[in-house]
């Protein structure tokens, strides 16, 4: 992808020189390598020894019952959990293209630019559509109007929203429908040209039409981005993702190609969960 805005290069001191572990079978090129991760909220451990490769330019779905740790792991990928007192990885590492994202020298703001996030409930800023999308660019120090204009249009087009809002870019983002607001949030995340997009139940508050639009968008975005999606909707995981990871009680039970997980999972617990025998 051609950079249309002048973003500073990633400044995080990498330890990419360290040999990257081999990706798991079925993953051609891993964008994210999660290795033996334990995570705790204070004394309460919620992730146990999780190891997982997230392939580049593909959609990986995290599924599992509430409280299984899938959202916690998702939030580890751009260190969103840093914002919670006492929350920390107590063992293991998470590497993005070889860089340990929890190294003390990593710039968290820069990490979150590289790893964008879309939340369960759309959360546009109380600003115009244009300013919502331009927000991240301005924070990153981009001031040139023409660059911002270009990035806003490109992001809104990438989020399949441009045609619906191009004539009202300067009205409040709150005036959009729920589905449009969610796509606005996706556009906002894309504006800073992340490499990875994390989606935490992005369609849980949307109607079927808006859900279909977001799912189609996910399909298109994976051409350029690595996408990790947390969903409770089994059909959505089946439709959207290339790989599916099933979590239970803070442990990764199974990860495999989505077609395999939903036709013939290897683990009994996965089978029982996806077929609705426990939850």
């Amino acid at each position: 992808m051609v950079n249309i805005i002048e973003m500073p290069e990633i400044t995080s001191p990498t330890i990419a020189n360290q040999p990257a572990p081999s990706p798991e079978p079925g993953v051609e090129r891993a964008m994210i390598e999660i290795e033996d991760v334990d995570f705790s909220y204070g004394t309460h451990q919620v992730l146990h020894d999780v190891s997982l490769s997230v392939p580049a330019r593909a959609v990986t779905a995290f599924i599992g019952p509430s409280g299984c740790g899938k959202t916690t792991l998702l939030r580890c990928l751009n260190r969103m959990n840093d914002l919670i007192d006492g929350a920390q990885i107590t063992k293991g590492s998470i590497r993005i293209e070889g860089t340990d994202i929890n190294a003390s020298s990593v710039d968290v703001v820069d990490l979150r630019r590289r790893v964008g996030m879309v939340f369960q409930k759309s959360n546009p800023f109380p600003k115009s559509i244009y300013d919502n999308v331009a927000y991240g660019l301005r924070i990153a120090g981009v001031t040139k109007r023409s660059l911002i204009d270009e990035a806003v249009e490109k992001s809104l087009r990438s989020a399949a929203l441009w045609e619906e809002v191009k004539d009202r870019l300067h009205v409040s983002g709150y005036g959009l429908s729920g589905g449009q607001q969610q796509r606005l949030c996706i556009a906002r995340a894309l504006a800073v040209e992340p490499e990875i997009v994390l989606m935490d139940e992005p369609c849980s508050a949307l109607d079927p039409i808006a859900t279909a639009k977001v799912e189609e968008l996910i399909r298109q975005l994976k051409e350029q981005y690595t996408i990790v999606i947390v969903t409770h909707n089994m059909q959505q995981a089946g439709r959207c993702s290339d790989r599916t990871a099933f979590f239970y009680l803070g442990r990764l039970i199974e990860v495999d190609d989505t077609a395999k997980i939903f036709s013939n999972p290897g683990q009994r617990q996965t089978e029982e969960y996806i077929t609705g025998r426990f939850g």
Binding site: M234, F262, S263, N264, E272, T275, R277
Partner: protein, 230 residues
């Protein structure tokens, strides 16, 4: 190990109903074939007529299984073993319906044969019938018990049945030349032999579907694929 029940009781009920209808079709098909062959061997037109009439109920059950299967797919969006169970049930019912059609064909041919003096060559049919029905029963048993090994054992048994059919055909053609006065009778026996060969084919299909349902493995056309590759 028995799978635990679904959280949705209606899902379990729908799956059980689908399976019960397939098993009902299986019982009716077996009875229909048995009546048709008994009608042939005992020269009983009434049994043949009953076998022909049985087909209507089996046809209706096939439609019911399809309807229930589609309804289940729509309402519950089954995945993994549940999806395989639904797909297999629908495919089994299709094979059972065609198998029952063979019973009807046999009964019709038997009625024609019964209008003429008995042919000793009718005895050629019984070993084929016994073989085909053993395949059929094992295919159904393997589906019911999710017994992959039993299901796999059914598939190679189709070849001997094909050979029995060829052998019977050759013998009956010889008899047609030797005894042209009974040409129609021998021709009817050739058709009956062919029907039983088709019963074996359907039993093989059902066994393959039973393997897919239980083990998610598609074993169809492996012989033809390996022959093509070889």
């Amino acid at each position: 190990m028995i799978a635990p029940k679904h959280i949705l009781g209606t899902f379990d009920e729908a799956l059980a109903s689908l399976r019960n209808n397939v098993l009902m079709m299986s019982s009716l098909t077996e009875r229909s074939l048995d009546r048709a062959i008994t009608g042939l061997v005992q020269r009983d037109d009434e049994l043949c007529a009953i076998a022909i009439a049985d087909d209507e109920e089996i046809d209706q059950l096939e439609k019911q299984v399809d309807k229930d299967g589609i309804d289940l797919l729509l309402r519950f969006q089954p995945v993994a073993s549940d999806l395989r169970r639904v797909v297999s049930a629908m495919k089994l019912s299709s094979n059972l319906e065609r198998m029952a059609d063979q019973g009807t064909n046999i009964a019709r041919r038997a009625r024609k044969l019964n209008q003429h003096p008995a042919l000793p060559e009718t005895a050629l049919i019984m070993p084929m019938y016994t073989h085909a029905m053993a395949m059929f029963k094992d295919a159904i048993d393997s589906y019911v018990r999710e017994d992959v090994q039993l299901a796999r054992s059914v598939v190679p048994r189709d070849q001997p049945l094909d050979e029995m059919n060829s052998s019977a055909g050759r013998r009956l053609i010889e008899r047609m030349a030797e005894d042209p006065g009974q040409l129609r009778g021998y021709l009817n026996l050739i058709f009956i032999s062919r029907c039983l060969e088709r019963v074996g084919d359907h039993a093989t299909n059902m066994a393959e579907d039973a393997v897919y349902a239980a083990a998610a493995e598609d074993i169809r056309h492996q012989h033809s694929a390996s022959a093509a590759n070889g």
